[in-house]
């Protein structure tokens, strides 16, 4: 297996970069979408439970099925992969953002409003910063999860390490097939750990000292 890695190091590095790039961009996009949705729903109890239901049900949709469905309108390539990965990335963030925003002490919101802070300013300067640790926990869950889902995106010929896994699986028994699948899987696990560490660091840097536990 070591020879396999050494022989294909250029290709592995390129696909690893593609994989991480797909995941990071989709998580960013998914987080923005989730935050916007959370900001729209968190003040209404009905909309909040709807959002929670959507994020719970959404996670039960099999990634394979979603990718298959997306093939019809978008064909093979990057577009269906990005849509699917972003969809799964947004769900845990949405749930945590709604929970985090709902958990902000009502007295603080009243005191912000009472000093003349507008609704949007209260959200940006008080509610989001206080909900941030919870939101970031959602982002970490989401990143871990879509590292795996991005591998399945290789099914629609999306970029990333999934290619090694699918190639290996389709030629099972052939030369280097097991090596190929293993390299793809192990690389994904390692990269997931690295990303998680980076997010942990980001959390340290972006959480104000006053609310750090």
């Amino acid at each position: 297996m070591w020879d396999f890695v050494v022989d294909r190091r250029g290709q592995i590095a390129y696909q690893a970069f593609q994989h991480v790039s797909l995941v990071v961009q989709c998580v960013l996009l998914g987080t923005v979408i989730a935050l916007v949705l959370a900001a729209l729903v968190y003040r209404s109890a009905a909309a909040t439970s709807l959002a929670n239901a959507v994020s719970a049900v959404g996670l039960t949709v099999p990634a394979f099925a979603l990718l298959g469905i997306l093939l019809a309108p978008f064909g093979f390539g990057i577009t269906p992969a990005v849509i699917a990965v972003t969809f799964y990335a947004a769900l845990p963030v949405l749930r945590n953002a709604v929970v985090g925003l709902a958990g902000v002490d009502g007295a603080l919101i009243e005191s912000a409003r009472g000093m003349g802070m507008s609704r949007p300013a209260t959200l940006l300067r008080v509610e989001l910063p206080l909900a941030w640790p919870v939101i970031l926990a959602g982002v970490r869950v989401s990143t871990q999860m879509v590292m795996g889902i991005a591998a399945i995106a290789a099914y629609v010929l999306g970029p990333g390490l999934g290619g090694f896994i699918f190639t290996g699986l389709s030629r099972l028994g052939g030369a280097n097939s097991l090596n190929s699948a293993l390299v793809g899987t192990i690389a994904i696990v390692l990269l997931a750990l690295v990303l998680d560490l980076l997010l942990l660091l980001l959390g340290r840097l972006t959480t104000p000292r006053g609310i750090r536990v």
Binding site: A107, E110, S111, R113, G114, G116, S118, P129, L130, I211
Partner: protein
């Protein structure tokens, strides 16, 4: 409709600084959907500029709702609200609130911002320059008795409950609003801290002369802090609106008499303030002073203890001469149990403080927490006896 008594706001006593504006409520009503009785039923009330008016009444009587309609955190269903000469009933609520200080229980400080950032919130919203905001933050922390260099960059969780409440008051005063609304601000702190916060509010109010509306469920607090008290019944019906002395002497209804409580003979305890007593001046010493010199000065003045002042002239301990003679220099030890009261403290507070500290006297703080003198338990007893003789005769 409730029969609201027309308010009798006489102008503030001459010589007192006033920076507040009058508040006038006209037939203000709040109805909530699905409730047959309005929470606030056509209330009219005048609050004179620079006065502290206390709202008291049973819980659920609508006093907090009425307070929150002044800064329109709750929109009135009906009626007009005036600040000074302005009708603010339809003004943009955010801009209105930047002109009204608002203090809630436990301060409502933002935990993710430093003390300084919290205090500078409203000035920054009003677009003040950075340097001006920074100067204002220090000025206000100083006003509420917190050393800016120590507390400016701390986070709220690093402060005690009483300190957080002080910062809450500083934040509300930051943009120098003419009106201050306080919603049971001192409800969540222990009795000794509450008493000190009350003393400080009185001292600050004497310096600033804001118009303050203060909701409380504690009648003693109302008597101590209020220039006037409004006693409410259900639907925010005004049962009595008068000075604490008048309400205690002549409750308008049985209901008020019940609320005020009995204990008429000891009323002087809550009505008489420490500043009306003869305070004893004592020998003071500063940190690092020569101990023998301090003892000599105290002996010459006939004192058996000295009061130690810190670098900002605030008393921190009162060692006896026997204790001082054992030292070479005056130490900077802070006596946590030092009994302190303010000039505006009631005799009730002063007695409480002495009993809690098991001492026969207390240190009286004046402006900016400086030393004003010493009050002894004998002085207080004399004052009570004199007052009782006067009421009897």
């Amino acid at each position: 409709m409730s029969d609201t008594l027309p308010a009798p706001p006489a102008p503030a006593p001459p010589g007192r600084r006033v920076s507040g504006v009058p508040i006038r409520l006209e037939e203000v009503t709040k109805r909530y959907p699905g409730q047959d009785r309005p929470a606030v039923d056509s209330v009219s009330l005048d609050v004179a500029a620079g006065e502290t008016v206390m709202f008291v009444g049973p819980s659920g009587c609508g006093k907090t709702t009425l307070l929150k309609m002044v800064n329109r955190l709750i929109e009135p269903s009906d009626g007009r609200i005036h600040l000074g000469d302005e009708d603010v009933t339809t003004q943009d609520p955010d801009r209105l609130r930047r002109r009204i200080g608002y203090v809630i229980q436990a301060g409502g400080l933002f935990p993710h911002m430093t003390v300084g950032t919290n205090v500078g919130m409203v000035p920054r919203m009003l677009g003040w320059e950075k340097a001006r905001v920074a100067g204002r933050i220090d000025e206000l922390l100083d006003l509420v008795g917190l050393d800016p260099d120590v507390y400016r960059d701390r986070y709220p969780k690093e402060l005690s409950g009483g300190q957080q409440q002080r910062v809450g008051v500083a934040r509300a005063l930051a943009a120098d609003p003419p009106v201050l609304l306080m919603d049971e601000p001192f409800g969540a702190v222990d009795p000794i801290t509450r008493q000190r916060l009350q003393d400080e509010l009185l001292r600050i109010q004497e310096e600033l002369g804001k118009t303050i509306v203060f909701v409380t469920h504690d009648f003693d607090e109302a008597v101590k802090l209020g220039d006037r008290i409004v006693v409410f019944d259900v639907g925010a019906r005004i049962v009595q609106y008068d000075t604490p002395e008048a309400i205690l002497a002549d409750p308008a209804e049985e209901y008020v008499a019940d609320f005020v409580g009995a204990g008429a003979t000891l009323k002087q305890l809550t009505l008489t303030r420490v500043h009306s007593l003869q305070l004893r001046q004592v020998t003071t010493a500063s940190i690092g002073d020569d101990a023998a010199g301090a003892v000599a000065r105290a002996r010459a003045a006939g004192d058996d203890f000295v009061v130690v002042l810190d670098r900002r002239d605030r008393p921190i301990s009162w060692p006896t001469l026997a204790e001082v003679s054992r030292m070479s220099a005056i130490p900077d030890t802070v006596d946590e149990r030092l009994p302190v009261v303010g000039l505006q403290s009631t005799l009730n507070d002063a007695l409480d403080t002495m009993l809690a500290a098991s001492q026969g006297g207390a240190v009286v703080l004046g402006r900016r927490d400086g030393l004003a003198g010493i009050v002894s338990i004998e002085t207080i007893m004399e004052a009570i006896q004199r007052a009782r003789r006067e009421t009897a005769g």
